[in-house]
Amino acid sequence: MTQESIKPVRVGIEGIFYSLSHVPDLVRYGSKPLRELRANPALATELAQRLRDFSAATAYAPHQVYIGSIAPEKLRDLPKPWYEKLIEGATAQGRFGDIVNEDKFYALLAGADQFDLVSFDDKWFQAHAPGDLIGRAPRLRSLNEIQSVCDKGALPLCSGAQLVGAFEPAHAEDASLAAEVLLENLAAKATAAHSLRLALKQLALKPDDIDFVISCSEEAVGDRYNRGGGNLAKAIAEDVGCGNASGSDVKAFCAGPMYAMVHGASLIQAGVARKIAVVAGGSLAKLGMKFESHLRKKMPVLEDVLGSFAVVLSAAKPNQVCLRLDSAAFHPVRAGASPQAMAEFLVEKPLARLGMKLTNVDRYGVELHNPEITIPSGSGDVARTNYLTLAALAVMRGEIQKHQMEDFVRARGMLGYAPTQGHIPSAIVYLGHAMEALQSSAIRNALLIAKGSLFLGRMTQLSDGCSFLVDRNEV
């Protein structure tokens, strides 16, 4: 089969918006810091000393790539360490993303809260809340009252060393409605809603234009009888004012966003929905996941941001960047869990189905974890490992010579730049840059490949994965 004989099945990608919420004072509530600080409270002082301020987080090169201000291909030419060699003149607004400071994040959190879970010190909130408050008015209390609810078990919300608010549990005996869990869930809702609001604004769409929302966030919403019951999607749709939309969630560990994109595109192709938003909020549990390694290396705690994104899909238009639904590939049960099998089923086989070779793909979007976060903890350079696996596959297929592997990686890959937020780095993070490169004809196509660690849930030993090609609808 040749590329020319294939009739492509395309669904349009109208646009994508990415956001990072910089929340240094919530790092202590990440799963790893929470455990370690309970075991060793003295660590709190050291952790506080290694947290970045907003200007340092904004001027951090990987974050500038994330919001679309710097092309990912340029990252390898920037001096390291990136956390010291900050980008001069960097701003929090990128071409397709933004960075939100902690005060604004707190306001988003309060606006998304329908159950008075979160409350703030009246004086602090009046002085720091942004002018463009969205959603429900926050519950305000005196500082004494805030201290009192924290003494009774609410999570303290801080701004630096100052206590500014409290986050209360919704049920005294239901672990699924504990303050830590609800904060995680509400943070995912608030950040996803923010990205969707900005995506719609960027595309000059009204919330009512959306008729279905798919959330692929990494939280588990529900009470003790429905842990992980979900449909955060509908809560996000409501928060953004998508009155005509319903929604549902797609979960697949880090591969969730890629599955959500395929599900959304399929609903459009089938005529079930006309305009779909695929959204994900940030993973609070992953804040400070590798903070101990960062402290040992005397570097800033770099996992201090919540990542989120929102994509809008609709029927393909001429010259639009599209998801090739006929390229969508999944990792079957029988494939086994090795990285080679993953590459075979997510890359080799779907490309062969389209009459393409690995070298016919101009750019690969893999799991683009920022190596500056992962290498100090011994987790290696995840993106590079993935690119080398692809290059090795190209050698095995006789498409390139062994000595050309580095060229393959350089030409078709990039350095990782995403925070270790699980679902965010997993290929979807590259879609914004891929769209720009496709629109400017810098590339002809890109293959996005995500993997999911299903075994972490102890229900199967399997890994998982999903991939699809994006290209331009040249008709």
Partner: protein, 41 residues
């Protein structure tokens, strides 16, 4: 020589998964008492 030696196998998703390590070691005569695959990102 390996017979009776006990092994804990910890695999990695992007490297060699736990069950693969376990299978190889069992074939060599080790007793795998626990195996797990982890994801380090």
């Amino acid at each position: 020589m390996q017979k009776g030696k006990k092994i804990i196998a910890i695999g990695e998703r992007d490297g060699v998964p736990g069950p693969v390590i376990a299978e190889c070691l069992q074939g060599a005569g080790y007793e795998v008492i626990f195996q797990v695959t982890e994801c380090f990102v």
